[in-house]
């Protein structure tokens, strides 16, 4: 050590000072231990967490919406395609709360659009409160001049983005609207299985093939993953997965035939409405009898998918589509149930033939009204009729007797063989099922009714008991008590009598019910697609094809991914019965037959089979014996039938006078115009 300045070197103060420097050393050690300990915690123990945070805050996903697949008709005409539209969105990320109000205010001012108010924007934000990390859609499909105005004010409007996204375009307008269906931003589907990778603002098919083929049409969204710096400027692209356009659908529908059907339908509807102003709705279906393919399908009132394409719908339009009677959105061809009237008679006939109690040689005499209660009138006094003649003239007496001989059990069996009691299973959503009053249906329905009646009466009995017990207990004299007991017993008996009466009335099948069913009235109710499918099965000689509208699914490059294979099953009806009934239906399409009007003027040898129907629906809005639905079913040509047709015009008054005229238009187009053009 050093050898100088003994004064300081050897002083007690120096020793004390050195102790203080040692204390400094201790402080120094603890300081560095503290810092290193904390660094160890952050960098070694918590590394994963901070690394993830660093990656997360520097990474952005930019979704790229896939184009929805196109929908084509059977010849490749484009029925639905896409056009790019500009959507106004608000990106919540990167905002401080206090900025939002200012930006929204600015936005409202810049746009000067009555739809976009501060409240409306706030409502959109609130609606998405749980998913604020996604862009909030403020207005879909804004016009180009608005886009330009917004771009000019870009710096005043942080967080406001204009995204382009594909939107549905319908080159044919309202044509086939019900079958195509519409798309709309997803809502309740979000909670359903299969929709896990959908986000708010995504479009989803709500009706028609847009709905039933949603997952084919949707495509796969792409995305870009980019790293951004602290000011959100992209620095580097990490991944770029392009979106894949959805698969396109080729329908069995023929756009040209569809146009003819819709135009004819509208003309007939307008002309019928002149006489019967209530006539404003109806539906028709044309099937390929050899595949079940739906060639055309119409429902009125018309629905324009484009109306659902925008942001919101006017009150008036919403009323038109959803609330008014008849609501336009409803596809009457598959969702509406109609009393078939005489179009049911082929089934009654087949049931009678199948029962063995009626043969093709049997004559039944019509004298203008049936001889059993309730003595239902016929359209005339037809005299002695065979099966063929009765079908041609649609004799109510003959078919009531046929129904009596067949029995409701056989009618139910034939109806069931032609699947009139279940949904056809075609590839469109919301299909309804018919109501066939078979024995099976009766047992279910009647036991339900029995339960209702019993419960009602039992409740009343219990109430009676509750009313009288305290009265009897509180009676002053024995005499009074007995009087009350008698009173109660008498009321009890009255209720029991009412129970028997109601059970008898509501839960037993009467002969009259069978007669009514036989002529297509009573409980009968079917969809138009069910009727067309049953006609097709008779026409093709006994194969029931499940109807369908989508022929093939193709990827965006046009490669076929899935081709529909006709799903045909032999119906459980003897061949001679089917043949005879088909024959009988052709007589109705010949001179003297009720359906002849539709076939007048067709080239020689075409012909066909048909049945008219005039039904009394007995629903609200229908006055008994005054308001009738007009129905018509047919197939053509008579030899080797190609098409089956079923049609209803609500309040059409008569089958031949309304639906039959639609059939006439179709048959003329199909067998005259198209034949002349070298097709068909």
């Amino acid at each position: 050590m050093n050898s100088v300045a003994p004064l300081w070197e050897e002083s007690i103060e120096r020793k004390q000072a050195r102790r203080r420097f040692f204390l400094f050393g201790v402080l120094l050690c603890s300081l560095f231990a503290l810092l290193l300990g904390r660094l160890f915690w952050l960098q070694i123990m918590q590394e994963e967490i901070f690394l993830n945070k660093a990656v997360a805050q520097a990474t952005r996903w930019i979704p790229e919406k896939a184009s929805r697949g196109e929908i084509l008709d059977c010849r490749g005409n484009v029925l639905v395609t896409n056009r790019p539209v500009y959507n106004l969105t608000l990106n919540y990320l990167g905002f401080k709360n206090q900025d939002i109000a200012r930006v929204v205010e600015e936005l409202v001012q810049v746009l000067d659009d009555p739809d976009i108010t501060a409240e409306a924007v706030q409502a959109s934000i609130d609606a998405q409160a749980s998913r604020l990390y996604e862009p909030i859609l403020i207005k879909r499909d804004i016009p180009l001049d608005m886009v330009i105005r917004l771009e000019e004010r870009r710096w005043q409007l942080p967080g406001i983005l204009i995204e382009t996204s594909p939107q549905r375009l319908y080159p044919y307008g309202g044509l086939l609207g019900h079958v195509l269906g519409y798309v709309h931003p997803i809502k309740e589907e979000l909670d359903q299985p299969g929709f896990e990778n959908y986000g708010l603002g995504d479009l989803v098919g709500k009706t028609g093939v847009e709905k039933s083929y949603e997952f084919e049409l949707r495509g796969t969204n792409g995305y870009r993953e980019v790293t951004v710096n602290a000011r959100n400027h992209p620095v580097e692209e990490i991944t770029n997965i392009p979106s894949v356009t959805g698969n396109s659908l080729q329908l069995t529908i023929d756009a040209e035939l569809q146009t003819v059907l819709e135009n004819t339908f509208d003309e007939v509807l307008a002309s019928v409405a002149q006489t019967y102003p209530k006539a404003n709705a109806g539906a028709a279906v044309i099937l390929d009898v050899n595949t079940g393919g739906v060639l055309s399908m119409v429902s009125r009132p018309i629905a324009y998918p484009e109306d659902f394409n925008g942001n919101s719908m006017s009150q008036e339009k919403a009323e038109y589509y959803f609330n008014q009677q008849p609501a336009a959105l409803y596809n009457r061809a598959i969702q509406g149930s109609y009393v078939p009237g005489s179009t049911f008679k082929p089934i009654t006939g087949m049931a009678a033939l199948a029962s063995g109690n009626l043969t093709l040689q049997t004559y039944i005499t019509c004298s203008g009204a049936y001889w059993y209660k309730p003595y239902i009138k016929c359209t005339g006094a037809h005299g002695s009729l065979t099966y063929y003649q009765a079908m041609a003239r649609s004799c109510n007496v003959y078919f009531q007797e046929a129904a009596r001989r067949a029995g409701i059990g056989n009618i139910g069996m034939i109806g069931h063989a032609l699947r009139m009691d279940v949904k056809t299973g075609l590839d469109l959503p919301y299909e309804g099922a018919g109501l066939l009053p078979s024995l099976n249906w009766q047992s279910i329905e009647f036991s339900k009714r029995t339960d209702v009646i019993n419960k009602d009466i039992d409740d009343q009995l219990a109430a009676l008991e509750e009313e009288y017990l305290p009265l009897i207990a509180a009676a002053d004299t024995e005499q009074e008590q007995r009087r009350l007991e008698r009173e109660r017993n008498s009321k009890r008996n009255t209720l029991e009598a009412r129970r028997r009466e109601r059970l008898n009335a509501d839960t037993t099948w009467r002969d009259a019910d069978t007669f009514n069913t036989g002529i297509g009235q009573g409980y009968n109710q079917y969809t138009i697609i069910e009727m067309a499918a049953y006609v097709a099965a008779i026409a093709n000689g006994g194969t029931y094809y499940t109807p369908y509208v989508v022929q093939r699914v193709m990827d965006s490059d046009g490669r076929v991914k899935n081709e529909h294979v006709p799903d045909g099953q032999q119906v459980d009806i003897e061949q001679w019965i089917l043949d005879a009934t088909k024959q009988a239906m052709t007589t109705a399409a010949k001179p003297g037959g009720t359906a002849y009007g539709a076939f007048v003027g067709l080239p020689y040898g075409i012909g066909g089979g048909a049945k008219t129907g005039t039904a009394q629906p007995g629903r609200t809005g229908y006055i008994k014996n005054k308001d009738f639905d007009g129905l018509f079913i047919c197939f053509a040509p008579a030899e080797n039938p190609q098409i089956a047709f079923a049609c209803v015009i609500e309040h059409g008054n008569s089958g031949s006078g309304s639906a039959g005229r639609v059939a006439k238009g179709i048959l003329e187009y199909y067998f005259i115009e198209r034949a002349a053009a070298g097709e068909g």
């Binding site: 300081l31 560095f32 690394l51 660093a54 401080k96 602290a230």
Partner: protein
Amino acid sequence: MKDRVKLVIRNLDYSLLVFLLFILCAGFVVLDSASVSAATRYETDFLVQQVTAAIAGFVLILALQSIDLSRLQNFEKPAYILMNLMLLTVFFFGVSVKGAQISLELGPFRIQPAEPAKILLIFCMAKHLAAKNRQLKTWRQLIPSLLYGAIPLGLVMALPDLGTGLVLLAIIFGMLLAAGGSLWKLAFLFSGGIGSVVLWIYGHLNWDWRLPLEEYQLMRLIVFVNPEYDPRGWGWNLIQAQITVGSGGLWGQGWGQGTQTASGYLPEQWTDFIFCVLGEEFGFVGCFVVLALFFALLVRCLMIAARAKDLFGGIVISGVVSLFMFHILQNVGMVVGIMPITGIPLPFISYGRSALLSGMAAIGMVLNVGVYRDNSLF
């Protein structure tokens, strides 16, 4: 003169210089990567500027060895007056930077008088305390020394330069400790001071007491307690600093590979937040090495202090060590989230020429004490 050069060559503490050199080099390496994004923006080559300043710093260090500091003690009074005048000048003529008047513009130069003030305070305070000859046990003995330090401290606080004020406070406390101040009384002052600050802020938040703090200073304290209070605003730096350091892991992402650094998540990462860059790119190992170098440097300073020829020399070194300790605690501590954010640079590593020169001058003083440790000459 020749003898003096010989003496300097013989007595110079080379290990201290080597530690300093290593720390400076580590700083250059980190600064190179930290300033990549800023260099283009400011059209300045931060690294070249820093290296130039460091070379000047070594010249300064050598120049400081030319005379025994202990013999300059008589200049204490003029130095004290000069220091306070400098601070007053800043107070009246300073250029405002981020709300605090801390710079003086002298022609083309912009100097920050707070930096030389630290060095002058160490010098003056050392003389003042050495004269007391360790008689600092009673309040009567302590209070004049406290007032001696309080004058420049008050001037700095009035600028207001809270960061430098805290540094001066740390220097004063450290030197009182080394000069033999009563441990109990110093501990009482320390804890009492912290306690009253906490109470004051609590009172401000709850009962609206008047607080002589700027909003940003208060917010820094609030987010220090709860960073999520305003994660994209006041809490941003604190949160990002920890993410940046934490994502470095054991070995770091590699030199120039730090994504946080490259993407500019931290403002001014070449100055106050440069330790983040070190943490992200060189990991725990890099941080350990740099902190170990600092530790070695400071331990070496204390060893020189223990061999000083007089009380004055030891106290000077204690002031320097306090200065660096506080800078390291505050700067690294804020980065790792155990101290609130204040704009205090990391010695020898953060970019900044004034700070670098004053830091090296401080080392020069330490070396001076070591060089003139023998009383026999001069």
